[in-house]
């Protein structure tokens, strides 16, 4: 089997792919990268927590103009996963305003980005509509 690596370290692969956050143990603020102290309460204790894999699209844009090499159009969004806000693309949907709507229910999905020279496959995540 091909070896896999996630696009970012807060994406956990396996049978149940999900995102992992660093949660402040005193105020429960969540961060996807490291903090020396909590941006909300300055607490210094954190624990790893699993982020819900389903959510609601709170905001989106359909990017039509981006850096060379970025395939457009694509849907970028802010997803409220049971109280934790997540940045991600909305995938497996036509990237037009008729098919993407505010408040839409979505779920985490993963897809292969390609295989490198060593034969390792990178896996990215996005959110797809729950039909």
């Amino acid at each position: 089997m091909t070896e896999q690596i996630p696009l970012v370290d807060y994406l956990e692969l396996g049978d149940d792919p999900h995102l992992v956050a660093n949660e402040c143990t005193s105020c429960h603020a969540r961060f996807f990268d490291r903090r020396n102290a909590c941006a909300s309460c300055s607490g210094t204790d954190f624990q790893k927590v699993k982020v819900s894999t389903t959510g609601e699209l709170k905001a989106f844009t359909i990017v039509a103009f981006a850096a060379p090499g970025v395939p457009v159009p694509f849907v970028a969004g802010l997803i409220d996963c049971d109280g934790t806000s997540v940045r991600g693309n909305v995938v497996n949907v036509e990237p037009d305003p008729e098919h993407v709507s505010l408040g839409m229910k979505v779920r985490l999905t993963t897809y292969p980005m390609g295989t490198d020279e060593a034969g390792t496959e990178a896996i990215a995540f996005g959110f797809e509509p729950i039909s």
Binding site: V8, I62, A66, A67, P68, L78, D116, T120
Partner: protein, 400 residues
Amino acid sequence: MAEDVWILGIHMTKFGKHKDLDTVDLAAEAALGALADGGVSMQQMGVLAAGNLMNAAAGIGQQLQKQIGQTGVPVFNVANACATGATALKTAIMAVKSGECDMGLAVGVEKLAGAGLLAGGARKEDSNTWEPSGRYGAVAPVDGRIGTETMPGVFAQIGMEYGHKYGGTSFELFARISEKNHAHSTLNPLAAYQKKFTVEEIMNDIMIAYPNTRPMCSANCDGAAAAVVISDSALKKLSKEQQKRAIKVSASVLTTDPYQEACQILPDVNTLTRNAAEQAYEQAGIGPDDLDLVELHDCFATAELVHYDNLKLCEPGGAVDFFQSGATWRDGKTPVNVSGGLESKGHPIAATGIANIWEVCHHLRGEAGDRQIENAKVGLAHVIGLGSACGVHILEKSAA
């Protein structure tokens, strides 16, 4: 209690493409213009605060001194994203308020004509091996894979988020905000663009990041603006004419974004603007209903809408109805961006936070010509820089 501070002289260059002028030339033009407007000289300035975001390490303050007067006074070179100009002004105001000097000069300048996307404009190619690096252990660039880093896309989401929360927004609504600002710009000879657009033209223009089409985005251009600030006691020693044209700084506020859930996912431009507005109204002892005009940070049409609410120009959640009532057109209850705003006047980043003050002062002095808002006595200028920093200034006509 610190004494009041006034704007004695202020100037902005024409915004647009200045092929033959570099940043130092533009900064000098604005600075000398502001000094001449106030009837004072570089020799009288006790402090210089200056910003040029794209070359923040170059020390524009000292470069400017070498161009117009090396007096040896302290220079504060500031960089605070799109709030750089307001930060320079606030720095000069703080120096005067603290009593360190009687007069100070603030300058903001940028050369941006022809620039494309300022963030998310280039993405590194994927490497041949997936090697985790950086804070997120990313094996490849994430722009376009995990959301967007482009400003039109970020601010599009900020407008859409407001729509999700309160309803009533649409592509057409955002386009109509842009229609207003472009219509206003036709009266501003210093605007980079003075072209009226129909709402259909705006909606059918090139899509950048839905719902923002090209005319709904701030215009990259060259420009500079500068202001001379003075203490109340020093102003009283100047001529009647200088006192009459001086504009009172009734509030000068700078805030950063306090922690909110989601603020590190999609920038929260709302909380810090609300905080700045509340502090400014409190300092000035006036309310939003007293404002005769507002220049706010319409870096994108989607941003203007949320700031109606953040600056408390309308009821919470009422920005759509407020706009649709016609309130923010130049003949409305609270004219917003009668200069044409960043979408048409242009957005030479570090100049923006002083140029908006110039616009308000111009009206309060009754010197705004064809676009004069009649009998304007109080105005508010707002900027926001992602990261984030927010500047709000409230200005009042001299009673003299």
